[in-house]
Amino acid sequence: MPKRARQTPEINSSSMADIAFLLLIFFLVTTTIANDKGLFLLLPPDPDQLEDLDIKIPERNLFKIQINSADRLLVENEPLTDTDELKGMIREFVLNNGRDPESSDNPQKAIVSLKTDRGTTQKKFIEVLDQIKGAYHDIYAGRAGVSNKKWRELAADHTDPEDDRLYEMGRGVLPDGKPEIPMNISIAEPTKIGG
């Protein structure tokens, strides 16, 4: 009898690691790391509820980018082969401030218009949209004195007062509360020329 009482009640835990490994492998296989990253865009309101306002925008304030069904680019009515050149062109256009009479009056009025065909692939569209976004992000980041990457983090979440200050510095605030350099991207209804 005393022999039994002396036995220490110990559970063998050497297989604990194996059990944990099994669970770990299960989760590794069944899950995907959520990927909610991409290019954000705000669509215009419902076309049926918009009043038929025929606003004339002067040609100089429009930066026209057209893509046809063969994924070829036409920028300001001239063909362009290297998409990477767009970023610099948009930057110059937005920050023109009336210097060049052919380019925009000021950043508030500058609009980048992107028109595609129904046959344009999403790949090309994203490539061009990326360039437009990049141009604006670079402008903002330069004004706020942060890196482009840091700026994009700020834009997603600027609840921290310091972040908010930088965010306002980058975009600039006009007396009426509107941003000094708004991101005016217009995505037009695609044409139906190509299949």
Binding site: S13, M16, A17, A20, F21, L23, L24, F27, L28, T30, T31, T32, I33, A34, N35, D36, K37, G38, L39, F40, L41, L42, L43, P44, P45, D46, P47, D48, T116, D117, R118, G119, T120, T121, Q122, K123, F125, I126, E127, L129, D130, K133, G134, H137, N148, R152, E153, A155, A156, D157, I187, E189, P190, K192
Partner: protein, 153 residues
């Protein structure tokens, strides 16, 4: 001599009692950082690459639409289709789908609904602009085109 003997007696084993704890830590990391896949994707998804990605903060506000060529082309044909949750839907059904998704959300968050378009890079703009028009009509104007980060070489 006695000194020498003592050293030889030293334990050679590495204590493994902390191993389960380490593994559990890894396990918890993966449990927290990953999300269980909600629906199986039935369309081809080669996501285009871009540089200027932004991240969305609130996951609960995001609803996904998958667009691309169906994986089972013998049943569904080769034309790109729209997948919402587990089924293929037509462009005209998008308004209904949005209102259903909104109904599932908390009341004060409904207007902040963000639609995440996961579009195959081969899909044509025609279909996507039709989807965008329906989203405008459904008053779900926040849009995200999912892209992968382009790696600079």
């Amino acid at each position: 001599m006695s000194k020498f003997k003592k050293k030889a007696d030293a334990k050679q084993e590495i204590p493994t009692s902390a191993l389960p704890d380490i593994i559990f830590m890894l396990l918890f990391f993966f449990m927290v950082t990953t999300v269980l896949r909600e629906s199986s994707i039935n369309v081809k998804q080669v996501i285009p690459e871009a540089r200027e990605l932004t991240k969305l903060q609130k996951k609960s506000l995001v609803k996904h639409l998958y667009i691309g060529e169906p994986k089972k082309t013998e049943i569904w044909g080769k034309e790109p289709k729209i997948q919402a949750n587990d089924a293929f839907i037509d462009t005209k059904d998008i308004i209904l789908w949005v209102s259903r998704e909104k109904a599932k959300m908390k009341e004060h968050e409904r207007e902040q609904i963000t639609i995440d378009l996961k579009v195959d890079e081969e899909a044509k703009r025609g279909l996507i602009s039709d989807v965008e028009l329906q989203l405008r009509k459904a008053n779900a104007r926040k849009l995200l085109y999912t892209t992968r980060q382009r790696v600079e070489i």
